[in-house]
């Protein structure tokens, strides 16, 4: 079986679901010319009615996806870069998230809005956003943040088949990872199931999107020094697999959050709060957050890179926690 990239996983997921269900169609800016490679061959396979270039009107075409979904279609909207969601906040927050609710369940909105997290490449502050957490703050939107090609394929297919609106955030730092992809056309990863990406015993690391590969590298390095990290990828943020995280922290007694988004009100913040509420008695030290500080992302590579989570920052956090055992008496976990 050939190893395939994250981008190829997106392409396969979309292609298989469009073959399976003629209600599925894709629209967005520059889909036909296929800028990123997620729609290679689609126009020939499905035609321009189902593979649809849009004007640069995010509020218009994201809103149109809601209308199309309400009448029985299953749109995939490719919004390219995640900051392009902002012009459509009204449609996403007031219409897509709330229509089912305010009409008492009369509306169904099976749609997927895809956008990528394209940071760390000198694209400056307006093109480097990682805004998934802010969408967690309005009920009614499911959110997936796959970190590798296999998860990407399984989660995106599940999202397309889901009867609720799903936002899919695709981290550019995961694009190059290659994996073998299941060929089963019904390979699905259910939303709301996190995964232990690496088992460990000393510290639970909850990592999101591009934070996952970094956390795994940090785990490799620390293993050589006798510190064992358990790396958990929630994979979907709504629903969030809180149980998997809490269970791991009850085992390790220590936790580090790795989240490429800004610190305040981040996934790191939400998961930390959950751990404190549900596993406080197991904690041997503070929960540490390795995130992007609450400043904007500058253009100059000289000062951009150090702002994101890195292997070094995770390693430093791990040492701080293990060291914390000397200051805070360890207690036996249940």
């Amino acid at each position: 079986m050939a190893r395939a990239s994250f981008i190829e996983a997106i392409r396969q997921a979309q292609m298989e679901e469009m073959q399976r269900d003629e209600r599925v169609f894709i629209m967005g800016e520059d889909i036909v010319c296929n800028v990123f490679g997620t729609t290679t061959g689609f126009v020939d396979m499905f035609g321009k009615e189902r593979v649809r270039d849009t004007p640069i009107s995010e509020n218009g075409f994201i809103g149109a996806s809601a209308g199309a979904a309400m009448v029985g279609m299953r749109p995939i909207v490719d919004v390219t870069i995640s900051s392009f969601l902002y012009p459509a906040m009204d449609q996403i927050m007031s219409m897509i998230a709330k229509s089912r609710y305010i009409y008492g369940g009369q509306a169904k909105l099976p749609l997927v809005i895809r956008s990528c997290l394209f940071y760390g490449n000198s694209n400056a502050a307006q093109h480097s956003d990682r805004p998934y957490a802010m969408f967690m703050n309005v009920p009614g939107l499911k959110i997936i943040v796959p970190s590798d090609a296999r998860d990407m394929k399984g989660l995106l297919k599940a999202a397309i088949r889901d009867d609720d609106p799903v936002l899919c955030f695709e981290d550019g730092n995961c694009w190059s990872s290659k994996m073998e992809l299941p060929e089963d056309p019904d390979f699905l990863i259910p939303l709301g199931q996190g995964e232990v990406k690496r088992e460990g015993t000393d510290i639970t690391v909850v990592a999101v999107a591009g934070g996952v590969p970094i956390a795994l590298k940090a785990a490799q390095r620390l293993a050589k020094e006798g510190i064992s990290l358990e790396v958990i990828d929630p994979r979907s943020l709504v629903p969030l697999d809180r149980g998997l995280i809490v269970k791991s922290v009850r085992k390790t007694g220590r936790a580090i959050m790795v989240d490429p988004a800004h610190l305040s009100c981040s996934v790191a913040s939400e998961v930390s709060a959950t751990i404190v509420e549900e596993a406080f008695e197991s904690l041997r030290g503070p929960i540490l957050r390795v995130t992007t500080p609450d400043t904007h992302l500058p253009f100059s590579p000289a000062i951009e890179k150090a702002l994101y989570p890195s292997v070094d920052r995770i390693v430093a956090a791990a040492y701080k926690l293990v060291g914390a055992d000397h200051r805070i008496p360890a207690q036996e976990t249940v």
Binding site: F25, E49, R50, T54, P55, S57, N59, G60, F61, I62, G63, A64, S65, A66, G67, A68, A69, M70, V71, G72, M73, P87, D90, Q91, S94, M95, S99, R100, Y101, I102, Y103, G104, G105, Q106, A107, K108, P139, G140, K142, D163, D164
Partner: protein
């Protein structure tokens, strides 16, 4: 006049009266404290809503706005669930989750009555896209106000509908005011319909008090949309007699004479006079009026006798599957 035309004429009269009576009762029970929240009445605009909906099929789509009571009644919705919704009851058309700004009955083709100004326009375009992709001949009609025509969503939705030649009708109910701001202070063109030129879209201005005129112009737009001719922008010049919302106090303090001028062209009175001039017996029209009153009273009885939703219902319909219930509500 043929017998069939007469039936349709009486149906238009009936629907306008049902709206008028529904709003009169809604205002009264709101004043009596029975209706929570705000109330945006449609009184004065009946000919626009009914004239437009009578030109649609039952299975055509419709998207409306915060002034939501008139649209579903115009499209033929049952009154009981609408009134129950105003009272926040579980038998409400939205199970008590939407209220006055969201009286949307999907069983008559509604896809929402939405309260963020302009937000329904892209959705209506999307429904038209869906109809087109499915190969049906359904059309999608969007009601919005003069205020909405200044929103970006108006521009984006109309442009999208036009470049994709979607089967959509954009019907601006220009009632003269966005809350308190007169349209003359907010729109630089003479007619909002002029804006259609920017989207290469046909347009029309119509007297929104004249139900037959509204029906004729919408019928032409529907025909164009159904046969692949793309969208139309229609501006109906109409008027709301009440304030923007009944609990907003008197925003429009100085309307005095203007209201009287418009009341002199009340759409229901105009149509009644026309029907009588065409030979319809006034007794027949009085009987329709009595039936409308009775139907609204029956709706009110139904609403009052209905139960409120269960607390746990608050966690339904966020997603298809019910949300987990917080512990503080289950203990």
């Amino acid at each position: 006049m043929t017998h069939q035309a007469n039936d349709l004429s009486l149906e238009k009269y009936r629907r306008m009266l049902r709206i008028r009576e529904f709003e009169a009762v809604a205002e009264a029970i709101h004043a009596g404290g029975e209706v929570p929240g705000s109330l945006h009445t449609y009184t004065g605009q009946e000919a626009t809503g009914v004239g437009a909906c009578i030109a649609l099929r039952q299975d055509d789509y419709m998207v409306g706005n915060h002034r939501s009571h008139g649209h579903p009644i115009a499209k033929g919705a049952a009154l009981g669930p609408l009134m129950a919704e105003l009272l926040g009851k579980v038998t409400g058309v939205c199970k008590g989750k939407g209220g006055s700004m969201h009286l949307s009955d999907f069983s008559v083709g509604s896809l929402g009555e939405t309260s963020i100004v302009g937000s329904g326009i892209p959705v209506a375009a999307g429904a038209a896209l869906g109809a087109k992709l499915q190969g049906t001949d359904r059309v999608s009609l969007c009601f919005f106000g003069d205020g909405a025509s200044n929103e970006g969503a108006f521009h984006e939705g109309l442009n999208l509908a036009s470049v994709w030649k979607l089967p959509a009708i954009f019907l601006c109910e220009n009632n003269g005011y966005a809350v308190s701001t007169p349209v003359s202070q907010a729109v630089a063109v003479a007619d909002i319909a002029d804006r259609a030129a920017a989207y290469g879209m046909p347009s029309a201005v119509v007297d929104g008090q004249d139900i037959d005129a509204v029906e004729a112009v919408v019928t032409e737009a529907v025909e164009r949309a159904r046969t692949g001719g793309g969208p139309t922008l229609i501006e109906a010049k109409t008027y709301r007699y009440a304030e923007h919302a009944v609990n907003m106090g008197r925003v429009l303090r100085d309307r005095g004479a203007e209201v009287d001028t418009w009341r002199a062209r009340d759409p229901i009175e105009l149509y009644r006079a026309k029907l009588i001039a065409q030979g319809v017996e006034s007794e027949a029209l009085d009987a329709i009026a009595r039936d409308a009153k009775e139907a609204v009273q029956e709706a009110l009885r139904f609403a009052r006798e209905s139960a409120y939703p269960d607390q746990l219902d608050a966690f339904d319909d966020v997603f298809v599957e019910r949300l987990p219930i917080p512990a503080y509500l289950t203990n």
